[in-house]
């Protein structure tokens, strides 16, 4: 399953790529929201893992834009900040999960991605598409 990861910190991107490629995901990296939008226009990523605070455009705005292009996309947020208001805002805007950096356990993130992946597969099956 294709996974798009967006973060302005390249070392975070590399770290996550290593981890999720090992888990069997096909990983594409974007260092910013604008680059991510171009990638999503080109190829409908159903799984997106994005940072929340990035220059030029926030993760929430990016998520809205991605969902406008591909309503089936499952977006998971990650952020160095955790407070109630941002969690509520992200979930309200349609994020399927929310993780705080640094990750206590990357396996929990894998689990969330696998759940999202299964959801996408079920939707596709329900719509009669080829999963």
């Amino acid at each position: 399953m294709e996974l798009l990861i967006v973060d302005d910190e390249t070392e975070i991107l590399n770290m996550l790529r290593r981890h999720f490629e090992m888990d069997g995901f096909e990983v594409t990296l974007a260092t910013g929201p604008l680059e991510a939008i171009e990638l999503v226009k080109d190829k409908l990523f159903n799984l997106v893992l994005t940072d929340l605070k990035m220059p030029k455009m926030s993760g929430i705005e990016l998520m809205r834009e991605i969902k406008r292009i591909n309503p089936l996309a499952n977006v998971i947020m990650m952020t160095g900040y955790s407070n109630m208001s941002t969690v509520v805002e992200c979930m309200g805007a349609g994020a399927v999960d929310y993780f705080v950096k640094p990750f206590n356990d990357l396996e929990a993130l894998t689990l969330a991605l696998e759940q999202a992946r299964d959801r996408v597969i079920r939707w596709r099956l329900a719509m009669g598409a080829n999963p």
């Binding site: 910190e9 996550l16 290593r18 981890h19 090992m22 160095g80 640094p102």
Partner: protein
Amino acid sequence: MTVADDGRQGFELFGKDTFDLVITDIWMPNMDGFELLRSIKKINPEADIVIITGFADVESSIKALRLGASNYLLKPLNLEELSFSVDSIHKKQMMVQRLAEQEARLIQVGKMADLGLVAAGVAHEINNPNAFIRGNAQTLQKFWKVIDPFLNEAMEAGIDAPSGLDFIIREMPPLINSLLEGTNRIKKIVEATASFTRYNEAFYFQPVDINQCVKDAVHCLNASETGLQLELEPELKPVSGIRADMVEVITELLKNSNEATRNRDCPDIRIRTSQPNPDIIKVEIEDNGTGIKAEHENRIFTPFFSTDPKIGHPGLGLTKVFALVRGFGGDVYFKSSEGKGAIFTVKLPVYHKEGQTDGIADR
């Protein structure tokens, strides 16, 4: 009260002790009142001096006042006038002292706010590198789980292994754990520092039962046996804030008292709650511990300051207390006598339905 027979003796005595007030005649042998006034003011310009004289002349009264006398009284003395004068000087001195204390507190609060911002900024910058170190360490652990059994099998099969490979195989898991432990410690420091930036969440403030918070904190620390006494005023109005953070405030203050009384034979920690007026709830945590050294008094709320630096205890506990309480619109301060104990007072605003409460810090 100390008495001197003439100006010179008066001046000598003044140099040996601290006096709040000097009452002096003008015409005296050895050193007259003006000379005494001038000499004392040289040592302590703030000293209060009342001049008493039998000669009522305008010139000397003006001279006395110009030299900084607080008052100028005539003989025969009207005792009522004298005690009124002493009284008002005393009041003035109290006010000056209070102002000085307030000023010191304001400077301290300003410093804290700056330090808080710096600390939060540094914490934020550290968070990202820490996130990828931690993530990579976890992935390394995952990779190692694949390599480890393969290498072991190969070793058992008798491959021509480079020297020291068995050592590497043995040391790899603790090495990775050490990386994870290090990042975990950094993470905790960053999290504690992040509480400085929680100021603007008044929107989420809820009515909080402070007595319950005290009980929860005590329960959390298993502190019931350490000579702890709760004097909780029943049916207090709820305070405004975030419950979990309120428990944390009490917990940190309790930890502080526990630490201070650690070496006492009979540790005595008391937590009192009360409502001194309709808008404020007061929590006092008093201990008979080591107290706070005078030179530490201005620093105990400062981030990363600790009187007993220990690994894994970065000295952020009281800073967190300060930041959270100020964030709730409250105030926290302490009184301490070194060697005898300390009392921390937290004042919190009572919750009002509209949610917003005025800060009580300046009251």
